[in-house]
């Protein structure tokens, strides 16, 4: 009796369900789209960039101080574009890092849950504003404002683009830093309070140091967004390659150059056309390094508290 029941329970190997296998294949195909995107990006960037460097010496490109690809005597020194990018990014960080961190500390340590539930989505509204709108704002409001308060900026300048870009990335910095701070175990805070610390001490000496890798990762992701941001730089910083760190002058960032040249009608296969990809590859490599750094930091931080 027992043996017979056991026998009926040994199931026959399940019938192969072709429909189920087909569905899994279709789903995997969907997933492959994003792999294909990555491969596509790498090929689209690096194949023409490689051709570019067969015509232009890489050392000249990376150390050259003059960028004039459309001139008869074309110059392909990328340093002015890199300087422009770094200059705008610097001013963006100057706004975004303190404000983002401050907002995160407030939301995580000071705000009551109800205040936080209102403020956090409200801050994220900022992230929903299209970048072209920020560009309009930088050009038509911030630049005249800077002039009014006595900073003699040109019509296009790195400062106004950078400041507005900084506001744009506040939500990125604030929300990721806040996640890192909320993940700090309560025990650490309670221990500090038990030793007589006040809220300021707990925030700055316990929570921020404990969450530091997550906070740095948030900074880094914000920086990489600023490096790749196009429209604000294109509208407010200008389209003049300029090897300067003077924030009052017009500069061209790498992303702005790509957009301006891509929007024009350069003939396919020409050297000007290939500059888009060479600069794009440089930009991509820069953001990739920065992102990889951030992802590693986030991972280390996660390991520490699980």
């Amino acid at each position: 009796m027992v043996a017979a029941r056991a026998e009926s329970l040994t199931l026959a190997p399940p019938r192969k369900r072709w429909g189920e296998a087909l569905i899994k294949a279709i789903l995997a195909l969907c997933a492959l789209v994003s792999v294909a995107t990555t491969v596509g990006i790498v090929v689209a960037l690096f194949a023409p960039a490689f051709q570019f460097f067969q015509e232009v010496d890489f050392a000249d490109y990376i150390t050259g101080t003059e960028w004039a690809p459309l001139f008869l005597q074309a110059k392909f020194g990328v340093l002015p574009l890199i300087a422009g990018t770094l200059s705008v990014t610097f001013w963006a960080c100057l706004v975004a890092i303190p404000s983002g961190l401050g907002a995160a500390i407030f939301l995580s340590e000071y705000a009551r849950p109800r205040t936080r539930n209102v403020l956090k989505p409200a801050l994220e509204l900022l992230a929903g504003i299209p970048t072209v709108v920020f560009g309009y704002f930088a050009l038509t409001f911030v630049t005249p404002l800077l002039r009014d308060i006595g900073i003699h900026v040109e019509v296009f300048n790195a400062l106004s683009a950078g400041l507005v870009m900084g506001v744009m990335i506040i939500p990125t910095v604030a929300s990721l830093s806040e996640d890192a701070m909320t993940a700090v175990p309560r025990d650490l805070r309670d221990g500090a309070y038990a030793l007589g610390s006040n809220k300021l001490q707990v925030s700055t000496r316990i929570v921020v140091p404990a969450a530091v890798s997550g906070i740095v990762a948030a900074f880094v992701l914000g920086i990489s967004r600023a490096i790749g941001e196009t429209m604000i730089a294109l509208l407010a910083a200008g389209q003049q390659p300029n090897l300067t760190f003077d924030p009052r002058q017009a500069v061209e960032t790498m992303a702005a150059f790509i957009a301006a040249t891509g929007a024009g009608d350069v003939p396919t296969g020409s050297l000007e056309y290939k500059t888009i990809f060479a600069v794009g590859a440089t930009l991509f490599a820069m953001t990739l390094i920065v992102n990889a750094f951030a992802i590693r930091l986030v991972r280390r931080f996660r390991e520490a508290y699980e």
Binding site: L126, I129, P130, K199, L221
Partner: protein, 293 residues
């Protein structure tokens, strides 16, 4: 917390450092204000300049060299088409990928882990790089030309990671007991996914996808690369040249004439209204259908 401190502080210095705490608190409030003050100023500025110019001329006329009769009808229509195509393209592919990763993929396989890292990385790639991809492959490589479909496809690739991440979260929120119940009744994996998991996850997926699309229709840089910066006086078609609303805003903003800048402000009002409408829909969907397990 600070209210309980004085009773704990045995050395009788409750005011020592209290002013520091207040300054710190003020600094935190100030840093929170930077974002909100800018947002407020931006909205007020745009409304002040633009709201008077949002009229039937703007909504129904094609662009023109004369600011008095210039409108944004082709751009507004193109942005609507882009939004519809985006939902049609990203929905199935994004949900398919999310289902694969959450329900089917074996986490221990290297290629599935690579897939996850890949999607995370793609979410952080600057939008201009997607524009380069579109220019190289869709417009020039495939010879699709500078058409609306190419724009829709490139924006699809751009928002796909965001949609996938949102859909995965929605699917993950469906409790395992529901799946196990269905399996116990003899359902196959696909029956469980299609009849139990997906219906339960749909509100979350829809909310995430609509939010992602609302970000995408404001994107300018990839469309510039695709060649949306052209003068279009007729209604766009899927296989024809186009200019989208953000590109029209860029175009008007960079003209030196103040009247065009006001037109840009008016177009911004229209764009922000569209984005706000999409966001409101997403929030309504979430509140209306979200389940608590």
């Amino acid at each position: 917390m600070s209210a309980t401190n004085p009773s704990v502080d045995l050395h009788g210095g409750p005011t020592r450092g209290a002013w520091r705490g207040r300054i710190f608190y003020a600094a935190l409030l100030l840093s929170l204000t930077v974002g909100f003050a800018t947002l407020g100023t931006l909205v007020v500025q745009v409304l002040k300049k633009g709201i008077g110019v949002v009229d039937p001329v703007l909504l129904t006329n094609p662009p023109s060299a004369d600011p008095a009769i210039a409108g944004a009808r082709p751009a507004i229509l193109a942005t609507l088409y882009l939004g519809i195509l985006l939902i049609a393209f990203t929905g199935p592919i994004g949900v398919g990928t999310a289902i694969y990763l959450e329900e089917y993929a074996n986490r221990n396989r290297w290629y599935n882990r690579l897939l996850e890292i890949n999607i995370q990385n793609l979410a952080a790639v600057p939008s201009i790089v997607y524009g380069i991809l579109g220019l190289a492959f869709l417009v020039r490589g495939l010879g699709l030309g500078r058409v609306l479909l190419a724009g829709a496809l490139i924006l699809t690739l751009l928002v796909l990671p965001t949609v996938i991440i949102a859909a995965r979260e929605a699917i993950r929120a469906v409790p395992g007991s529901i799946r196990e119940g269905a399996y116990a009744l003899g359902a196959t994996k696909w029956q469980v996914t299609w009849r139990q998991v997906l219906p339960a996850a749909i509100p979350g997926i829809a909310t995430g996808s609509i939010l992602a699309v609302s970000r995408a229709i404001g994107e300018t840089a990839p469309l510039l690369m695709i060649g949306a910066l052209t003068y279009i006086s007729f209604n766009p078609t899927i296989a024809g040249p186009f200019t989208a609303l953000p590109v029209q805003i860029y175009n008007w903003t960079k003209l030196p004439n103040a009247e065009f800048k006001d037109l840009a402000a008016a177009a911004i009002v229209v764009l922000l209204a569209m984005i706000l409408l999409l966001n409101a829909t997403a929030i309504w969907l979430r509140n209306r259908y979200q389940k608590k397990w």
